[in-house]
Symmetry: C2
Subunit: 482 residues, 2 copies
């Protein structure tokens, strides 16, 4: 029997009514009581739009207090938030809206135009919602941890994105496992420079209402703003990707350090180069490497501070109460597929029965990533699943780019691979074999129309043929560009 708990925002509004819930980098602030009031009002306004329990509602927004309140509002109605990456193209967005059966799309005012270009039947901007009449309905007082709460799309090896369904329980257990690892202090304040439409940002907004902890939410990452916030805003923890660590370490003047209460920069979204971790160590920047994915509702393996020095390069140990095992590639190989299990792991993708059956092996999730454990049980990730490229914290599946390249009539075949990049960690690079010549600008224009900007190949190499092995299988590793 799934556990039933009081609605977490209502509960925090009772426990910490005047406690700060969110502080934006533009100075806006909201307490837990105010956030609850705002979310309840939005829920009652949205109720007029006919939203029913389990309806999937699209959200297209950059980080803001209203965006977070809308996500909570939908929980008061029992509806499911489908969080859209604002950088998607029209085609990419329509795929997700259609796949999740979204008919109502809620957008930040500045993104209303972008929203209206999609196939969503109804598009409402946050300002329009605020103008609606409140419908006096009974809002949910309790949360059943088995119920679905959010959907975030992630691509896969096929190039067709799949919607990862997170239950309330997945979010709850993710928050608890993080607290059991990092501890929980009444003075904690967590900085989020990452989008709330990503699992890293979203999961921290939910930690906020589970812990009763303030979050410092950045509209958008900016080195100087974040640097100043770490210095002066009593931040104790921040979620980061490699690029941000790199910028911050560079920004921090030689011989200076962040305040001692900054106890963790939780590094997700792909491994960081050792040289960067060494630099961070020199400047006493407390980087905690971690491993996780949308399917695990953010980090599931984290390297603790006390191990940071002696285990550089490791993602750490699976959090309490997660489990991890390596499925060796061969009998005499310690490297194998990383499999994980735990109550923070999704039950599966939305409407993908077949993939879901393949995704799990008796409760163990196939991550598709390769890694090994050392003799003390620390995980080392060798290669992200298949040939996933992680660029500035965004997942890019080569197949998705290859599919669009293949739509260009002049392209005979194409392969995309990742290239190490100082700034973004990795960037996609394309290799194409042409049937006939075409202007590179024309190719790029086509790609720009159909691919989010971060997915655009940074280089296009025209080659005679793609490297294949004896059985004609593409040897992507041979395409690696140094």
């Amino acid at each position: 029997m799934a556990e039933v708990i009081p609605h977490w925002l209502t509960k925090q509004a009772d426990l910490h009514p005047n406690g700060l819930a969110i502080e934006m980098d533009n100075g806006e602030k909201i307490t837990f009581h105010e956030l609850k009031e705002k979310s309840e009002q939005l829920a009652k306004k949205l109720a007029g739009s006919g939203i029913k329990k389990n309806d999937r509602i699209g959200i297209l927004a950059t980080n803001s207090i209203t965006m977070v309140a809308i996500i909570h509002a939908l929980s008061y109605l029992g509806a499911v938030s489908v969080l859209l990456n604002i950088r998607l193209t029209e085609r990419e967005m329509n795929f997700q809206l259609n796949d999740a059966g979204v008919s109502l799309l809620l957008t930040a005012d500045s993104l209303q135009e972008q929203g209206e270009k999609t196939n969503a039947e109804v598009v409402q901007s946050f300002s329009e919602i605020k103008k609606l009449e409140q419908k006096e309905i009974e809002l949910k007082k309790e949360i059943n941890l088995a119920d679905p709460y959010t959907i975030i799309y992630t691509s896969g090896t096929t190039g067709f994105p799949k919607g990862v369904v997170h239950t309330y329980g997945n979010h709850w257990w993710s928050a608890i496992s993080s607290a059991l690892n990092l501890g929980l202090k009444p003075t904690d304040k967590w900085l989020i420079p990452l989008p709330v439409f990503h699992v890293s940002g979203l999961s921290t907004m939910i930690k906020s209402v589970i812990y009763g902890m303030p979050v410092y939410l950045m509209k958008k990452f900016n080195t100087e703003t974040m640097h100043q916030a770490l210095l002066f805003k009593n931040i104790t923890i921040a979620s980061v990707v490699t690029m941000m660590v790199s910028r911050l370490v560079e920004r921090l003047p030689e011989g200076e350090s962040y305040p001692a209460h900054l106890r963790c920069l939780l590094l997700g979204g792909g491994p960081a180069p050792e040289s960067l971790l060494e630099k961070a160590k020199e400047k006493k920047v407390p980087v905690f490497q971690s491993y996780g994915m949308t399917e695990t509702t953010s980090q599931i393996v984290t390297l603790r501070a006390q191990d940071a020095l002696r285990k550089i390069g490791s993602a750490g140990k699976p959090l309490m109460p997660a489990q991890l095992k390596i499925n060796p590639l061969s009998n005499d190989d310690s490297i194998g597929e990383i499999q994980v299990k735990g109550p923070m792991v999704t039950n599966g993708y939305y409407n993908r029965d077949k993939e879901n059956r393949e995704l799990f092996d008796q409760g163990w999730l196939h991550t598709g990533d390769l890694g090994y454990m050392d003799d003390e049980g620390y995980l080392y990730v060798v290669d992200r699943r298949s040939d996933l490229i992680i660029s500035g914290g965004e997942n890019i599946y080569p197949t998705e780019i290859e599919n669009v390249l293949a739509e260009i009539p002049e392209v005979k075949e194409a392969a995309v691979t990742g290239k190490a990049d100082e700034k973004w960690g990795e960037v996609p690079v394309a290799f194409v074999v042409m049937n006939e010549e075409v202007q590179p600008e024309d190719m790029m224009n086509y790609l720009k129309k159909h691919l989010a900007k971060y997915k655009l190949p940074k280089e296009i190499h025209f080659v005679e043929e793609l490297p294949r092995n004896a059985s004609n299988k593409l040897m992507k590793r041979k395409l690696k560009v140094k």
Copy 2:
């Protein structure tokens, strides 16, 4: 679907192998790795005794590392620990052993004789267990939170004790709700001066393996030992009952205080007099009042430090994720029965289907206690359930004593009530109406034979008749002795 997590002790042995798990007041220490090894060895030795999953195994012991390891050992076998109060008489103990269907009783060496007097088919002392051969069986690697783990008996208004079944989930959620309230620091060390056969002691031993936190375990409460430990053993939290707070506040010299890292004396087992709380405040002893019972797997409502001053007398607010409501006695009364709900609340008593149906109202537990909430939602407990007497942290149900008194042929009728006591909080006092005269010593001897010492009436008043109302109902309140 109930959640499955890795075995919590195995997990902590992996995460903090060299972390201190238990330190006894006699200086004995054990790390998480060693505690796991010891518990696994005991499990394999016990496996030879034919213990099967879900078997109820009695444990009769005072606090010790081996006692804790035995409780973990039983979890590796999937068996259920029935924790016996060592102060029970033979008759009381036999009732519980029989009721829970216990055939194997494990005892501390010093209590073996006491154990052998019971009806348990097999009695094994801890030393005898250590001498057994290990049976090579596969121990449990995972915990299903829905499975039962421990049974602790609590009396009821009928005078017949009932076994409260705690699932692993009840313990897990109790630990998590406490962490969400008190926070969680890597430097935390929790002192337990209470018996592990009580839910307060037991639940903290389980917090230890869920948090990876050291516990300072006292064999038995002693003012001087505890005072010195609070001063010199880096204790941050301690579980206490009123009597202990009283002794410590008295012991602490005027003008002195405990180290600043001592952040919480968690006060359970009945309300404390305001005068004592004021004294504690003067000496900066951080007392957190709380409300809970065996059925809620320890505290479910706690007054936080920041509210301690302005809400003296209140038990606080229900912990995240617990719920509380008052079922008013009448329409114009704010006082009513306290009802609670949450994943730390037991699913019911062992083998008591009828009582269990009455115990819950749509998931809400009837506590039988009376209280009210102020306009900010803080709970004030007015009267413990029915006429429960809480003496030195032990629950005493008057009916149980009355039943034994009624067995004495010369006693016509008897009523037992609580009397305020400086040292114990409350003590039981008996009022008896006699058929014919009997020597008070003879009466006491009979009571001593059948009642645990702490249940013995401290006074026996011989009266002509018991106060009854018009409908002949006993008016216990009129028997209150100041």
